[in-house]
Amino acid sequence: MADKNGFFDLSKTTLSRRTALKGLAAGAGLALAPGFVRYSQAQSSAPIKIGFQLHRTGIGAAYGRWYDKTSAAAVKAINDAGGINGRKVELVIEDDGTDPARGAEVVGKFATQHKTDIVFGTLFSHVVIGSAPAAGENKIPYFVVSEGHHVASTKLNRYVFQPGITDVKSQIQSMAPWIAANAGKKVTQIFPDFAFGYDHRDYLPPALKAQGADVIAQIAIPPTESSFTKYFPQIPAETEVIYHVMVGPAVLTFVKELGEFYGSQRPQLFGFMDSLEAVDINSPGLEFLDGSHFWEGSPRYAQADDSAAQKAYRAAVGIDDNGAAVGDPKDISTASHMFGCWETLYVVKKAMEDAGYKGPEDRAKLVEATEALKEFAEGPEHPQGPKSFNGKIHQCFGIQNISKVEGGKLKVVHKTKIEDGLYEPEGDYTTQAL
């Protein structure tokens, strides 16, 4: 095709020396203008920039939208109360497409181009694992809200933290006694065939064994699968409990097809809320879930004994008593995970204040100050509940909720204790060089 209008014809552009000089002079004038020196005196008045690695597109997009809302609400609350060390906080958002390769690029972009103080906010475990080396290379603290065990496994690096949400290994360990005592002793596991699913695959069997129960079958399903009935024949007939945890856009199909397969003759069901995050439990086809149990990080439905802090948090984020967006009952939140964004941002605030953080040159100090943290008390900054923090493995430990589906709502029937979920550290990040 001919370039009729000469768009690509460089010889036609007339950039004369005079024009160029004019442009340069104007630029220099702007730089010298009074308004421009606002932030150049010191970092003291410039905002603290938090690079937000967001799953805006890709299979994590439904989570991403709520991570965005929750983080924005937390930043607003922090800024309204005076910011961090007297400086405003600003979120710089980059979409990682829920893709590990892109995730690593985004971390690099935050470190070198946006020059953010930290990176924050990743959920999907394969993205965290893919991005962590980039955070280590750029020596930029990387606060994830992922729930996977990879941070606590100490297989990542000293710059990666998970201070806002309990890891899967701890969650499983604290809930196994309840499952064995109340649901059944013969358990079949269904989980996604990637890092997050492997945490469940690896840690549930020993946790149940300790309670006298057994995992009799493990069924791994590719994360992009869209139809599930073909996997169900692998569920042994003697199964007493189906333990399911699925992620991604097809979760509703998964639960519906399970219902079609079993009807009312189903084994007990124990699911991770991940199987239904951002999905209305009253969707057509989900009636058979009535009476089944779910893990919830933070309850989706308002509970009778909610603390004032929990109520304030729900109001700030904008979710109603059913866990849906205020004003749009069909827009269901990802309540079990997104609280971690709120709490992580407050941990960052605490650590930056402890470290007397001024700017990127203090990143090592920030890492050490975060590692020195021990406990987070329940309250407006930690509405999900109290947590303990292990600075050696960069992981927090909190309470877990087990909820029952009753009359189209989820009602918390059991809360675990922090001690139930503690385990021997598998390593020590603090021995690594900064």
Binding site: R56, T57, G58, I59, A61, A62, G64, R65, P222, T224, E225, S226, S227, T229, K230, Y231, F232, P233, A237, P249, A250, V251, L252, T253, E257, E260, F261, Y262, G263, A278, V279, S283, P284, G285
Partner: protein
Amino acid sequence: MHFGPHLLLAALEGLVTSAVLALTALGLSLVFGVMRIVNVAHGEFFMLGAVLAWAVSTAISGHPAIGFVAALVIAPLLVGLVAFLAEWLVLRRLSYNPESTIVATIGMLYIIQQLALTFYGPEARPVEPPFSYRILLPWFGYSGYKLSVVAASALLLVLTWLVLTRTKIGMIMRATQYDRETAQAFGIPVERVYAGVFAIGAMLAAIAAVLIVPISQAHYLMGQDPLLLSFIVVIIGGLGSLRGTVVAAVLIGLSDGIISVFFSPTLAKIIATLVVAMVLVFRPQGLFGSAQR
């Protein structure tokens, strides 16, 4: 579960996959065959059909069947209109050049996908099936709706075949496919045929999507798998061959169902890809395609 019922379940699942795949691939094959265009955006027309089905069925209250039937009529028509406009605005301007249209349809893929993300959102949203009857077999339950999808798809395939072989429109399309220049010399408005074929191809994908959406929800990324599988089917079946497309869709769908039930879904994909490679090596025109003239 015993071998018999296990195989039955695998075959049922495979049939549902085949039915939807046959319709989608047929759309791709028609466009490929008549226009010689590789439509990379085909999967997005599929997605658009599902998303519009959600929009239509939520806008209409009353019994879910009313909303579904309305979606089955309105969604494909809207998708056809979009495809018609895309053909007129983009493909025609490129004089249907094979290389340029690939790039253009890749662009269309991203535009449609991102528009869906912007206006529809990242969630997977369900559409209620027109009826929910659970067929109770002695060994397991099965969705009655899924079986009706197979029947509906078979009916549509027969209908398409009748249109292509028994009507004047079909004859014009086949003439254009056989030899574009001669057809033009005989007074066939080739450009109008192209626009129509492109729209019909997209509509077939949209119908398949409306049928499948009560089973698996509408999501803005759902077009990728059908696109890939459709290409596999079209290559195995032979370009522009209706019979080849249907046979290949049943073959791929059933083998996918059975292999993934008894072995693993990954193995099913490996075998499908291997079959494509073998077909390309030993019978490049596809199982039922005619050799290049």
